[in-house]
């Protein structure tokens, strides 16, 4: 794939993932108590940690989303969001195994899809995050390629 196509792949994936995560985070920031309840319903974390998670996680999503939008810390932000998605996928899968029925809480009170739909959605987002890292490295590799020897001679001459 040409450099131009890698650059545009990188940009589209960045912007799409950024919009998704910033939108999800804003909904959770507007209603912290509901997010506390949503985390609680997974029955995975101890009670003392629920508030801290509910305060911190949405802002981590915002910072990573903004980083992706402006094109700074893109690999780092993608890796963090990818790690969060892996945790979300494992958490949702565990509720399915344990027979717990709940709302994901990913998009606040607006997220009422079935666990299977949410799982598939998060896997897609994870692939996008991985795609950003891959596309970023590919576009950097293609920009670092040495020009052909003939061009160097012309430049020197």
């Amino acid at each position: 794939m040409s450099q131009c196509r890698w650059v545009w792949t990188w940009r589209v994936l960045r912007w799409a993932l950024a919009v998704v995560f910033v939108a999800a985070a804003v909904l959770k920031i507007m209603a912290p108590p509901q997010f506390v309840v949503d985390i609680f319903n997974y029955q995975l974390l101890p009670l003392w940690s629920l508030h801290a998670m509910a305060i911190y996680l949405p802002w981590l999503e915002v910072i990573c989303g903004v980083a992706l939008l402006i094109g700074r810390w893109t690999e780092e932000a993608s890796a963090i969001l990818g790690a969060m998605l892996i945790v979300y996928i494992v958490a949702i899968a565990s509720t399915m195994v344990r027979g717990i029925s709940l709302d994901c809480g990913c998009f606040g009170k607006y997220d009422t899809g079935s666990a299977t739909v949410v799982l598939i959605r998060d896997v897609v987002f994870l692939m996008m995050a991985v795609g950003i890292v891959v596309a970023n490295r590919r576009r950097r590799v293609t920009t670092d390629v040495e020009p052909p020897a003939a061009e160097i001679e012309l430049a020197v001459g």
Binding site: I29, M30, A31, P32, P33, Q34, V36, V37, F40, Q43, L47, W48, L50, H51, A52, A54, I55, Y56, P58, W59, L60, V62, I63, C64, A67, W73, E75, E76, A77, A79, I80
Partner: protein, 169 residues
């Protein structure tokens, strides 16, 4: 790889700083840790979802589908309580006297085997947190999905003219 992981610290740290500041000034900000004596998990949204009225509790009791827990102090319990209610004082339980919950735990089967029976907790009303303390304790033991709170407490039961039992726990 180590350097890459190290580079992830910066956005995480920025997020922490922004979260602290935003939560502090936000009108919907919450405490970083559950306030002593009260968990926001049993406040607001979840409390509303778990609340149940006195008339409903009476119906469940008559149908044999409720285990009622009185979370008030011993003297209030002795003065009058829901017939058959088990006494588990919430504040003492929270302060570490978990043995006070044993009479209740002996009656409770495993959380999976409990439904459709509901465990209904009450105290002195919406401003009383003792029922919330027992609610949190039982939630951590896995009974969350069968737990209900008679939000308006003992005053609502009395006001409805429902049966009263007196005496020692």
């Amino acid at each position: 790889m180590v350097r890459f992981i190290g580079r992830m610290v910066a956005p995480c740290a920025v997020a922490g700083a922004v979260a602290s500041g935003a939560n502090a000034v936000s009108p919907v900000g919450i405490s970083w840790f559950p306030r002593q004596g009260k968990s926001i998990v049993t406040d607001k949204a979840l409390l509303q979802a778990a609340s149940i009225g006195a008339i409903e509790v009476d119906a469940l009791v008559n149908a044999g589908l409720a285990i009622v827990v009185d979370a008030r102090t011993t003297d209030l319990y002795v003065e009058g309580h829901v017939p058959g209610a088990i006494h588990v004082p919430g504040q003492e339980l929270f302060e570490g006297a978990v043995e006070l919950a044993e009479p209740l735990l002996i009656m409770l089967p495993d959380p999976e085997a409990l439904p459709p029976t509901q465990v209904v907790v009450y105290c002195e009303g919406a401003t009383c947190s003792d029922s919330l303390l027992v609610f949190d304790y039982l939630s951590e033991l896995g009974y969350r999905r069968s737990l209900r709170v008679m939000l308006d407490g003992w005053p609502a039961w009395e006001a409805a003219g429902l049966p009263v039992e007196e005496g020692q726990p």
